[in-house]
Symmetry: C2
Subunit: 246 residues, 2 copies
DNA sequence: CGCTAATGCGTATCATATACGCAAAGCGTA
DNA sequence: TACGCTTTGCGTATATGATACGCATTAGCG
């Protein structure tokens, strides 16, 4: 399998960047990398990352567990493939769009949606992205700032800032609903109300009392997300104005 | 063990909030919860979360694997204890400090340090915090905004924004060094330079060329963090001014 | 001086990842 | 067309890890 000696890259990356050998001589594959990755993504979406085992994946694909290893070097490799494939293509815009704020907002909202649909991404993306899928998203975000006077390092800093926020907000949002299936008095809000002793946690107790943690069904779930994003982009706006003046 | 029926809380939370029964009659414990949690944290710090298994933990403590289960309901339970203990106490300040920005900055910097010392926290903290340790940090952050005209919901939003950023930045920073141990030409920067085709990823290619991903040993590692945090707090400042005017 | 309750832990079971090697099955060539 | 190369599918085996269950040990209490 390690045809290219000296290359320490994970197998998945070589495949993703089109560096795999052509092959074509042997037995007709009943399995394909695409099918495996798609099934893995579906399984992780439906039952969570913890439920994704090689055995359950093989079961879902109707093949033997060990068959998967002909297409994937291991579980980590599979994770890389999943991370590269799940987000899909990023929104497209010019290299230097006139409306940086609109572009970046669109990017953030679409990425937020990706995280909501695939909550496991946040748990897997522990290493810096090196696959074409994630780099395309990164490039798109950098492009959205192409028309601003920010220097390259500041642009990257802004993109990371937005990325961290998107990821964190999505992770928080997807971690709550599991609790809400119980009775109403077992909600996170109710629990906090019971635990947040005003003498020990005064600020927290006041927040609980103000209903900060009580879910509001009347508003869209990403309203809070948009509000936070606006705060954030206001800060970016300040930096851009400052850079334009200098 | 489940003495309180109907209470679906994880065992760890009952202990952490002082709801455990007093005990005291039986054999003298050779093991204690504190020792277990401390050893688990040390192990995760040194060798990563993946290396933390009940067996290896028992080995380090000089006891049999199954002995741990007398103090901890399971591995998830252990994780909860670790999350509650590792951060230590948050910085203390008044309920309504005059300098919100200074307070919040201090909070963020100290939390950043916690994440750097215990990178596994970012991987474990998937559910909303319910233990006294993490709630103390949350309360401290909310306090730092006590003197501002922001309403409770906005305060929480700001705290979450900062939290997400701290966490993301720390996770990014701790994920890179593992790569840097290799030769210089296997750095993330070098790899990106090779992969970022200017035709396909123009903005990314330009950033690589500008040296954005090249580590700069002359600057402190958290300089970038502070810069991003300043952007972020500028945005919060805008919101505060706006709220003061309304 | 047993009685009771709590601890330490041996044994067993089950899930999971994965190394290894053989058998099945197309393709090219003689 | 038959042979052999190549690549896929997968059975078997092993190692690691979580954890249920039950028993023996031991410390306070009556």
């Amino acid at each position: 399998m390690p045809d290219d000696i000296g290359n320490e890259l994970p197998h998945a990356l070589n495949v993703l960047w089109g560096r795999a050998k052509p092959k074509g001589r042997g037995r007709t594959p009943a399995l394909s990398l695409e099918r495996i990755v798609a099934a893995a993504i579906a399984l992780a979406d439906e039952e969570g990352l913890a439920a994704l085992s090689m055995a359950r994946l093989a079961e879902r694909l109707g093949c033997a567990p060990m068959s998967l290893y002909r297409h994937v070097a291991g579980k980590d490799d599979l994770h890389l493939f999943m991370l590269a494939a799940a987000p899909g293509p990023p929104p497209e815009f010019d290299t230097a769009p006139a409306d940086w704020r609109g572009s970046l907002t669109r990017w953030a909202v679409e990425l937020f949606d990706v995280y909501l649909r695939h909550p496991w991404i946040a748990q897997l993306a522990n290493s810096p992205p090196m696959d074409p899928g994630q780099l395309a998203w990164l490039d798109a975000a950098l492009r959205s700032l192409g028309g601003t006077p920010l220097d390259p390092r500041a642009r990257f800093s802004v993109v990371m800032l937005v990325l961290h926020y998107v990821r964190g907000a999505a992770q928080l949002l997807t971690s709550i609903p599991a609790e809400r299936e119980e009775r109403a008095d077992e909600t996170y809000a109710a629990l906090l109300a019971e635990l947040a002793d005003p003498a020990r946690f005064p600020a927290l107790a006041r927040a609980v009392e103000a209903g900060v943690f009580t879910p509001r069904p009347e508003t869209a779930p990403d309203d809070d997300f948009r509000a936070g994003l606006d705060h954030l982009l206001n800060g970016v706006g300040v930096a851009i104005e400052r850079a334009a003046r200098a």
